[in-house]
Symmetry: C2
Amino acid sequence: MQERNRILLIAAGNLLKKDDIKKVITLLEKLHPADAAEIVSSLPEEDQKRVFESWDIPHAADTLQEMDESEQLDIVELLSTPLVADIMEDMAADDAADLLGGLSKHDQERILAAMERKDALEAMRLMAHKADTAGGIMTPEFVALTKGMTAQDSIELLREKAPTAETIYYVFVVNKDNQLIGVISLRDLIIAKPTQRVEKIMNPNVIFVDVDTDQEEVASIMSRYDLLALPVVDQEHHLLGIVTIDDVVDVIEEEASEDIYLLGGVRREERLDSPAFESIRNRLPWMTFNLLTAFLAAAVVLSFQSTIGKLVVLAGFMPIVAGMGGNMGTQTLTVTTRGIALGQLEFREGMRVIARQIGIGVIIGAFTGILAGLVAYFYDQNPYLGLVLFLAMTINMGIAGLAGAGIPIVLRLLRQDPALGSGVIVTTFTDVFGFLTFLGLATLLMRFLI
Amino acid sequence: MQERNRILLIAAGNLLKKDDIKKVITLLEKLHPADAAEIVSSLPEEDQKRVFESWDIPHAADTLQEMDESEQLDIVELLSTPLVADIMEDMAADDAADLLGGLSKHDQERILAAMERKDALEAMRLMAHKADTAGGIMTPEFVALTKGMTAQDSIELLREKAPTAETIYYVFVVNKDNQLIGVISLRDLIIAKPTQRVEKIMNPNVIFVDVDTDQEEVASIMSRYDLLALPVVDQEHHLLGIVTIDDVVDVIEEEASEDIYLLGGVRREERLDSPAFESIRNRLPWMTFNLLTAFLAAAVVLSFQSTIGKLVVLAGFMPIVAGMGGNMGTQTLTVTTRGIALGQLEFREGMRVIARQIGIGVIIGAFTGILAGLVAYFYDQNPYLGLVLFLAMTINMGIAGLAGAGIPIVLRLLRQDPALGSGVIVTTFTDVFGFLTFLGLATLLMRFLI
């Protein structure tokens, strides 16, 4: 929270203690809704309730709209059904549908029943789309023009629609069956002669997406073509809604967080300010799974007990092989996962990318293996220990390249999220194979080592 | 590359073999500049040269603008100085300045000298700002209104400026000293009565940033307040330029990539399709550094050789302690780094966050430690081995919480990028302390263990 909002939060708290709810509301209304939302959601529950109950609906809707989903759900639980219904009618249709989608079936029905029929139907239509598709992030509050209208007519229509439309900077042209046939920017409308017809001004090569398109693809198209709004159509090319750039900014941040979290082995629900109990509940299943993978590596080492018993110094050098492999695997996984996310991977190039990463691993493994081997040689005065370390590192870092590139590419081919592999799977590979190659080679060459 | 562009690339290649450069240009002009850029930059160098030399300047500029910096620099090297100067004059001022900034001092001077004085001066002014600040990503091509103008006057002015301005959807109001005093959206101008004066329509609470503001902060403000354009001012509040949302989308993607790369220990220059030689050169210094940290962990183990010699089974269980600590540390690092990037960390809460992460580590460590301890007990029929494993895991996962949260938070306090710590530093901690606590405890309790 910024310093200014922190001060305003204290001021609001003091005013509420004196029951001066009117002044609190005056104070909040002077702020941008994003700031008002931050302050209100930091108040104690009973104060949140009082503020929302005394506020006019448009301000309440603007503020609720700016909150995180979990904060919104907390507020909705505090308020009466008719009040929630009134606020939802006033919210942007896509935001209202997202919020409803987060509620239980029972709460959804209760609130939808209290909403005006038109708004309730619109919300239900939007909720029918999967949350992470174009349909799930689009808004039906766009402006559509029909062929035959003039630039002047269009600007008149925009003037009328401006207060409720999500954006008026791009308007879309449809035929009489509501099929998308073109796009006009407000910039073009303003430059155009007032009597010019929209079909002369519009760009018929309009970029659009299907309602089922994944939100990541939507974001990548809007970012590629620098669009402020992207129309969404159904299979018969009917215009259903538009995705606006502000929602896409959220998608880009969300998808980046998701990749970062998956790579780090953390569930996306976890935040830095989550209560410790929640963090533990989120991480425990995954850490228990990690323990199983750790036992795999331990089992490999335990199967070489007699080798280590003969030459204890091996126990000291074996973590180098596993650790360097792990680092290499993590680097490769990072480059591959991000490369896939940013569209750097050509579909047919998968095998070549994997081969290249294996090659990179082997070369870096050989180079660092020589260094490590020399240190081992000087430490133990035995060139064969150095040789075993060098060979094991070279092989294991090749395996790191294979696992780090291969796992996300295979996941991608299976149409799963490439980041699902996560660091732990890759380091399990590099641990197991690191111990196996190093201790296995040492066992084979034992007569030279002792 | 999308399938369509791949086909067009082949078509363009065939036409160029027949020297039919005119048809290639007709084909490219039908495409969105982003697609034309992708196709042209995939052509052989001599064909790129031919296309740009036969093309009209506006199309050449639009297309060059859409390329990656490295692709732009390749093209600039192929073309004559006067042609490059002409193209740059036609590019968006911020894009031209970014491209010039990537050239050598000598090339900059050569091209600036050939550009029109006005454009050259503007580019030089923009280049004076650091690339990753508001000044580095802003454009001077905005529309400013002065007090006293009416809504009608403003729309007339916009009509005139529309072809060159980056955006006309937000216009800014300045006083006679060019100081920023308000903002009006085109939406408000269109709704307003034609005779109304701008000072009555404008919003005087305009959100702005200082020219030196970090680009990550700029992105976070624009995303928080859902802005399409953000004005940039100097210390005396003079309006210098605006940052537009399309540039911010790029910033968000860039910053997310940077965090992902830093956490994974990869330099940001590396791409999935980089040549193997470049990847090796990029990673080798870092992997050599990793080797040094791996020797730290090895040194700890080697100092306990006599302990391991007495009980070789310890060598099998020690990777579990280090590995689980490493996973815990990576999780904590991920949550902390991302939390800082998304503004979830309050400045004064650093100590509390670290304490909470240590607590989470200890609890998960104790839980998984009991499981691991039981397995060790059943494997070796010795309850003390289980106890040592349990204690070492509990302690080391507390250390993982400390390192995973503490390192990025301290880096942040030192005004460094919190992601700089990267996984390797954290896992070095957890390796060293994991081996130390496990083998140290085993040494202390040796008489119970054998």
